[in-house]
């Protein structure tokens, strides 16, 4: 393993940074009322064709942790407890693996009852498993795998847009914006943002160009499979995609920016470690 690929010396700072970020988002979710014990036994759900959703639902786990208040509270407390212990003892596999599994269960349960395959937790739900690696050498391998996972998320998004045809649909940006912002424009017609949106809808060329720029930003992640030298560009692209969907599609994918962490180099992490 070349030295630039050896993250073993930075294992503690990487684990603590990512785990702490995930805990902060969980706290935000707690205060927003969307942890399992706060869902009040949802009446409807949606599974589509997702095997993980089917398996978990048929096993009865989501019904138990959202329908039984005691089980739900035990689950939520365990989630925070394992996360906290992972932060304090980053090399203790018992805590890091337990936390990763509980987080994954929560993310899948959440998608079942929100009735939509959301991508908010796509980063943490997979990346947390890197910290359950047995040895430091294994951790380096896992962490490098997560870098490819980050590239895979947006890189394949771009590929599907070519294969399924969105990239060839010129008005995709305009239609997407009208669909996502109809409710906001209807309820808040006189805000500054509403006036900007309406101006953009009346000048769709800009919206459609912006839409294609987002596609290209997703496509840039394919470069990550070939070189690490452009990782700074991928970080810029991830932030650009987040801001674009935040401003023009009314979606808040801040949690997914965790994919930036595996794109940081060993030198970046060493610098963070020195300052910590």
């Amino acid at each position: 393993m070349s030295t630039e690929n050896d993250f073993s010396a930075s294992r503690l700072i990487i684990t603590r940074t990512v785990v702490l970020s995930s805990l902060l988002f969980l706290l935000w979710r707690l205060f927003s009322g969307i942890l399992p014990h706060q869902l009040a036994a949802p009446a409807i759900y949606k599974l589509d064709y997702d095997f993980s959703l089917w398996t978990l639902k048929l096993a009865g786990i989501p019904d138990l942790i959202t329908g039984n208040i005691t089980a739900g509270i035990i689950f939520s407390v365990s989630l925070f407890l394992c996360g906290g212990l992972s932060f304090l003892f980053p090399r203790r596999r018992l805590w890091t693996l337990s936390y990763a599994i509980l987080y994954l269960l929560y993310a899948i349960t959440f998608n079942i009852y929100i009735c939509h395959g959301t991508s908010y937790q796509a980063g943490f739900a997979v990346i947390l498993f890197a910290f359950a690696a047995g040895t430091d050498e294994d951790f380096s391998l896992w962490w490098r795998t997560m870098r490819y996972y980050a590239c895979f998320i947006y890189g394949t998004c771009f590929l599907w847009k070519i294969i399924h045809g969105a990239i060839w649909d010129w008005d995709h940006g305009l239609d997407c914006m009208k669909l996502n912002l109809a409710e906001y424009l209807f309820h808040y017609p006189h805000t500054t943002m509403s006036n900007i949106y309406v101006w953009l809808i009346r000048h769709p060329v800009l919206v459609n160009i912006g839409d294609k720029l987002v596609f290209l930003a997703e496509g840039a992640f394919l470069l990550g499979f070939f070189t690490k030298k452009l990782d700074w560009l991928l970080i810029v692209c991830a932030v650009f995609i987040f801001l674009s969907v935040y401003l023009f599609a009314d979606v808040f994918f801040l949690e997914l920016l965790v994919i930036i962490f595996p794109l940081l180099s060993k030198r970046n992490w060493q610098r963070v470690q020195r300052q910590a």
């Binding site: 927003s32 896992w142 490819y148 045809g165 009208k178 808040y188």
Partner: protein, 180 residues
């Protein structure tokens, strides 16, 4: 390319379990995503990857709690809005009288080959009509708990919007779907 090749070769040599998991995941994900199915968690590979048909009308749900419209304009409050917002969209679909439970045609064939009874399974992977009818009561209870205020009455409306030539949406239709 060289970097990836080296990485996968190194991974195969040093961690066969992780290597196998990645290959299996990628194979299932790619094969099913080509059909537009989402069979693995966390990314709707088909989301916004297909051309969007220009719509004349846009349907959405409005919720009134004790006569007040329940809404939040701030995108950064997504976590507070999302449980009600996303589930309401699905409720609109489920509440439509022309809606039929999802047709898992290919899975039915697979189950039949394995000797399984898919019809018994269908309501374990789809909400029952009774569960759909219970949704407004759940929403009232959930929003009461989330906002910390006991909601006395709740109405769900199906609203149809249409964009005018000035680029602004206007109300084309509004129908009461449920009251609790």
């Amino acid at each position: 390319m060289n970097g990836r090749k080296n990485f996968l070769a190194e991974l195969r040599q040093k961690n066969k379990l992780l290597f196998s998991a990645i290959i299996i995941y990628l194979s299932i994900n790619f094969a099913t995503s080509i059909w537009g199915w989402q069979t693995t968690p966390f990314y709707i590979w088909a989301m916004y990857s297909i051309p969007l048909r220009p719509q004349q009308q846009y349907e959405l749900a409005e919720v009134y709690c004790d006569g007040q419209l329940h809404t939040d304009p701030h995108t950064y409050n997504d976590y507070k809005r999302m449980m009600a917002d996303y589930s309401l969209r699905h409720y609109l679909v489920l509440a439509d009288s022309s809606h039929h439970i999802q047709d898992y045609h290919s899975f039915k064939k697979l189950f039949a080959l394995a000797g399984g009874d898919f019809n018994r399974l269908i309501y374990r992977i789809n909400p029952t009509p009774a569960a759909i009818n219970r949704y407004p009561a759940w929403l009232k209870s959930y929003l009461s708990q989330q906002t910390g205020k006991q909601i006395g009455s709740l109405q769900i409306y199906k609203v149809t919007l249409q964009y005018g030539s000035d680029g602004r949406p206007f109300l084309a239709d509004k129908k009461l779907l449920a009251a609790e």
